[in-house]
């Protein structure tokens, strides 16, 4: 990759311990962990929108939160430009926080109902000592509210979240994330709670306001949305990245059997193109201490002997198309 990377992730890992009752901990000394994110490495380029697509429970939200250190990794490194942020103390980290922000999934839960829009959107400024006076805060907040199309801003600043629709609330969440002009924004399923007719509005807004930030990590379970919103897409399955390529490439030339199944399963809003059965079997295996082999092995229709013994690594098969699958290498 010639372009400069904004974020570099190396062998990032997050294990959550499984709580067990006293009796079963006596019977077995083996420690149980949920392998939410397991030795994941990838780069997010400067000025790029990277999509992270996967089913529920695959670890995509955990990965997003790890990247901005909302939760601490078990092991591995995250470089923000040249700084390894996993090595920073909480105090040093605070200086980095304005550069990385997050938009949460549910605008009904993520906004404090007792705060006015002015306080909600102005909070990041206050925390980082970026305001001189109340008037200054009002001015800065009004400016960003107009950018997210909550106009005229005076009509909104003294209202409370419950007075707004879901789409308007999510625009507040976008304003909160972008008011500091961060370099990097994690958008965790920002439209999945919204009505289908209004979600395009939020997506367009995030696109238009890309000038206020540099790179997005866009987490979603919908491949169709990611395909249009993102420059590149990473497909995640059980804590591992299975395939990663430009969004055109991944949809037109998928290599991993899981990616293929995902594309086949995605419903198309066109009754004349109904599809038959998809090529996948079984259900997702438990993420608790998964065996050391391809995590997709039990569901793959093309599994070979090697797949049951060795865990495939993510390798470049040409043109920046990365795949973690034994089938392709042979």
């Amino acid at each position: 990759m010639t372009e400069e990377s904004l974020i570099r992730v190396r062998k990032l890992r997050k294990l959550f311990p499984v709580r067990r009752n006293f009796l079963s901990s006596l019977l077995s000394s083996e420690e149980l962990h949920i392998h939410a994110v397991d030795r994941v490495s990838f780069d997010i380029k400067d000025n790029e929108v990277l999509g992270l697509v996967g089913e529920s429970g695959c670890g995509k939200t955990t990965l997003g939160r790890l990247l901005i250190r909302l939760i601490e990794p078990t092991s591995g490194d995250i470089y923000f430009r040249d700084t390894n942020i996993t090595q920073l103390s909480q105090k040093e980290m605070k200086a980095f926080r304005p550069k990385m922000q997050i938009i949460f999934q549910d605008p009904y839960e993520s906004l404090n109902p007792r705060m006015t829009i002015l306080d909600l959107v102005g909070e990041p400024l206050e925390i980082n000592d970026l305001i001189e006076s109340e008037a200054d805060k009002l001015e800065q907040v009004s400016k960003i509210l107009e950018l997210v199309r909550l106009m005229p801003a005076e009509e909104y600043v003294f209202r409370y979240p419950h007075e707004l629709s879901g789409g308007q609330r999510q625009r507040i969440a976008v304003a909160r994330a972008l008011i500091l002009h961060p370099d990097f924004v994690v958008a965790d399923e920002p439209v999945s709670m919204l009505d289908t007719s209004t979600r395009g509005e939020i997506l367009n807004l995030m696109m238009e306001l890309k000038g206020l930030t540099r790179s997005y990590l866009f987490i979603t379970h919908e491949l169709a949305v990611a395909r249009h919103f993102c420059d590149r897409i990473a497909i995640m399955y059980l804590g591992r990245i299975m395939e990663m390529a430009s969004s055109d490439e991944i949809v037109k030339n998928p290599i991993h059997p899981y990616t293929k199944a995902l594309i086949e399963a995605t419903p198309v809003p066109d009754p004349s193109s109904r599809k038959d059965k998809i090529s996948i079997k079984g259900e997702v295996i438990s993420p608790i201490n998964p065996p050391r082999r391809c995590r997709f092995y039990t569901r793959c229709l093309y599994g070979k002997d090697v797949c049951s013994r060795l865990e495939p690594e993510l390798i470049d098969v040409g043109g920046g198309h990365l795949v973690a699958c034994h089938l392709d290498n042979s």
């Binding site: 089913e55 529920s56 629709s165 879901g166 789409g167 308007q168 009505d195 289908t196 007719s197 209004t198 979600r199 395009g200 509005e201 997506l203 367009n204 696109m207 379970h221 919908e222 491949l223 169709a224 949305v225 395909r227 249009h228 919103f229 969004s247 055109d248 949809v251 199944a261 995902l262 594309i263 086949e264 399963a265 995605t266 419903p267 198309v268 809003p269 066109d270 009754p271 004349s272 109904r274 599809k275 059965k277 998809i278 996948i280 259900e283 997702v284």
Partner: protein, 326 residues
């Protein structure tokens, strides 16, 4: 032949803030052996409509007017006991939204299905009911051995399958599926849609599928009704609706769905401006007019004309239908 026919149905909720007209004059048909989709956004009244067909409305919900015929028989005048014995689950059953919470967590799955069977036929022995419930699990592709497990031991997809088995318990002719795949992952969703299609074929069922996701309905249904703010905006044969939507809301709704297959990356996402109206105080005139690109003065003043025929299998309620003079 129509297995279900609904005429001018109105359902109002009495609330502290006033009367919510959740369903406000709906005509609806299900042809025998067909599947009919009902699409609409959250709060448009589609679940209320589904629940009313089984007389399962919350206590503050009132059926203001309207008639519901099942196989030509007016079923609303039946009293609660008659309705339970002869209609609910016997003829019409339902797959409820949110399979996670629709089952009782403290009973085994097979017992819950057996209970539905026994409730409708007291002469059935417990052992036979259990055997029958295991058979039903087999039909929906669950290992019958799993029947002795509790709902929390099932995955989301399995729970939804068990819900389908429960809906099949008394051999109904019509199944209402309320958001059957919402909150499930795409692969599980696809497998469930395949299952529903297969059951419809094998058991000669009629289906009514309620969903906000028209791409799911596109995969499952023969007919499609588009509901907006308590009323039907457009209905017809599904291919025709997708090919030439006539109501501006339908057109907007279909366009808002990006597809994976598109050759080019979209430069912009399409959306319908504004938000769905509050049914406590819906807009005057056509309820869609504040969001409609073609709205004129008449749309603000007068409700749209009665639902009118465009072709044999395509009807619309709009002052300014797309692609037509008017």
């Amino acid at each position: 032949m129509n297995i279900l026919e609904v005429n001018d149905l109105r359902i109002y909720y009495k609330t502290m803030k006033g009367i919510v007209k959740a369903v406000d004059g709906i005509d609806f048909f299900v042809e025998k052996g067909k599947s009919v989709g009902l699409a609409g956004e959250s709060g448009c009244g589609k679940t209320t409509f589904g629940l009313s067909l089984l007389k399962l409305l919350p206590t503050n919900g009132m059926i203001e007017s309207g008639k519901v015929y099942f196989e030509g028989r007016d079923i609303y005048p039946l009293d609660e006991k008659e309705f339970r014995v002869n209609v609910r689950w016997k003829e019409i059953s339902m797959i409820f939204q949110g399979a996670m919470n629709a089952m009782n967590p403290v009973f085994k799955v097979e017992d819950q299905i057996a209970e539905a069977i026994k409730l409708h036929d007291r002469t059935v022995k417990r052992r036979d009911a259990l055997e029958q419930s295991r058979n039903l699990l087999k039909i929906v592709d669950i290992d019958p051995m799993m029947g002795s497990h509790y709902p929390h031991e099932f995955s989301g997809g399995m729970r939804q399958r068990a819900m389908i088995a429960m809906a099949l318990a008394c051999n109904p002719q019509l199944i209402i599926a309320d958001e059957p795949t919402t909150a499930l992952d795409v692969i599980v969703q696809k497998q469930l849609m395949d299952l529903l299609r297969r059951l419809k074929q094998d058991l000669d069922l009629s289906l009514m599928v309620i969903s906000h996701d028209i791409s799911v309905l596109a995969e499952l249904c023969d007919y499609l009704y588009i509901m907006y703010a308590g009323r039907i905006a457009e209905w017809g044969e599904i291919e025709e609706i997708f090919e030439s939507p006539i109501h501006h809301y339908t057109h907007g709704l279909i366009s808002t769905f990006p597809t994976v297959q598109d050759e080019e990356r979209l430069k912009k996402f399409i959306f319908i401006p504004g938000a769905p109206p509050n049914l406590l105080d819906p807009p005057l005139g056509c309820r869609f007019h504040p969001r409609c690109p073609a709205a004129t003065e008449i749309c603000k003043r007068e409700p749209p004309p009665e639902i009118t025929k465009i072709s044999d299998k395509h009807y619309v309620a709009c002052h300014h239908p797309r692609g037509l003079k008017g």
